[in-house]
Amino acid sequence: MQIQFENVSYTYMPGTPFEEVALENVSCTIPSGMFVTVLGKTGSGKTTALQLIKGLLKPSRGRIIYTTSTEHAYKCDKQSKQEKQQLNAIWSSIGYLFQYPEHQLFEETVERDISYGPRNLGVTEGAIKSNVLEAMEAVGLSYEQFAERSPFALSGGQMRRVAIAGVLASKPQTMILDEPMAGLDPISKTKLIDMLYQQHLANNWTTICVSHHIDEIWQHTDHFLIFNNKRIEFIGSKQQILQAWQQRQIDIEPPSIVKLALLLIDKGIIKRPLTELSNELQSSEAFARYLGGV
């Protein structure tokens, strides 16, 4: 699903002394089927933008257009009743993993917590069961072992996986991940992002992922979206962001592998510009192989 922002602004608590602009006249297009990484400082408007996409907030001005492969564009401003229904269907098809999602667990057993989403969406009982099975398998929790346990008796990492399974069980077609790895240990982080990336590929998601650690997510990302001070500072592919770093156009810190490449270019060890190295900079292994040849 392609998501297009058209002059979208959002203001919190308008008309009170606590009024605060969170997004200012943002326009951008998030391409379909891509793994999009969203970067930006705290308070730059990332989370607001994501919540607007999911329909949790309504734009104060402007509109959001959703384009799916089979259907037309839906405008997210004033709409007829029929359009509203279609819009609701689109919003339900978007999975949203909140920051520290384990805080939202509430049921007595893992299985019941995971089935909360699909049950709300009106999925039949039989299908719910198979969805839960599939979701638990995807996050690496064995059904026999965990289904009947209380989510509160699990470890932090396991709780997070239960919460992720809870989002997966609704079979989303688009996925929003708000710092999915925050607060985990390094090994769990790698495992988690690999697992999520596998799901991204297997389900053909358009995935939008917020992260503060570009290193963790660099190799999976197709597209970058950078927020700065309530606006979009940069949107583009890996190739384009490399170019921006080469020309020192953006403030966002590059991943360590790119920093290393930039240093090697500066010292004259690598003779090619950054933009020609996008394949070699895909992963540290590829870069090592390339350096072996230099």
């Binding site: 919190y12 608590m13 008309g15 009170t16 002394p17 919540q51 999911k54 949790l56 339900s92 999975g95 949203y96 909140f98 999602p101 805080h103 939202q104 667990l105 509430f106 909360y116 989403g117 699909p118 049950r119 709300n120 969406l121 509160f152 809870g166 989002v167 609704s170």
Partner: protein, 265 residues
Amino acid sequence: MLDQILIGQYVAIDSFLHRLDPRTKLIAMFLIVVNIFIVAETYQYLIIMSLVVLVFLLSKIGFKHLYRGMRPILWFVYFTFFLHVLINKDGELLWQYGFLSVYSEGIIQGFIISFRLFVLIFFSTILTLTTAPMTLTQGIEELLKPLRRLIPVHEIALMLTISIRFIPTILRETDKLIKAQTARGGSIGQGSILKRVKHVIPLVVPLLIISFKRAEELAIAMEARGYRGSIGRTKYRQLTFNAFDQLVLLIMILMTSLTMFVLFS
């Protein structure tokens, strides 16, 4: 979704009322409560009405914001008025329709009682709008100090402070949880009452868990910083009465004595 709820609605601007000592404001508030329940003459109501206007102007609070803060409780005022109008059967019959009847005394009583309520709501709203919550609790603590042999004043004030401090945190948490559960299809804004009640559980359970965890962390953090109750504790911020505080208190005491005098003579 919780955008409209204003608790701890303090507006950080500078005005005459903002600069008053919290103790002055609390005492004045108390004296106004005393006054409003013993006044009887029309001119006294006019004095109180002008006091309302004066305080409103001195607070520099926007009317819209004030109204927003009072609106949830104002229903109580309307309700009281209609109750009096419909139930009081004294005086002349003014209007009748079926079992509903309105008498002149009902309208007068309705006005008086709802005016009193309005004044109470107005002054308490102004108090919270012009006094930072922490300053307010400090004021309460200082005022209760003479009772410290009878009740744990400092501990009560600390409890107040902590609850006030965490209201915005918990509101933010609730807002996030509402969104998180809405994202899973559990919208509390939709459906029948039964459905809505069912969607409260997914909010309350995580909220309680988070709050307990936070309470424990706070206790550990306070102990780590050497907190050991009220004994030997000094204050970083000292409250001082200045000339304006004395003036306000003088006026309020004079006013109260006068109403007392009118009442008993």
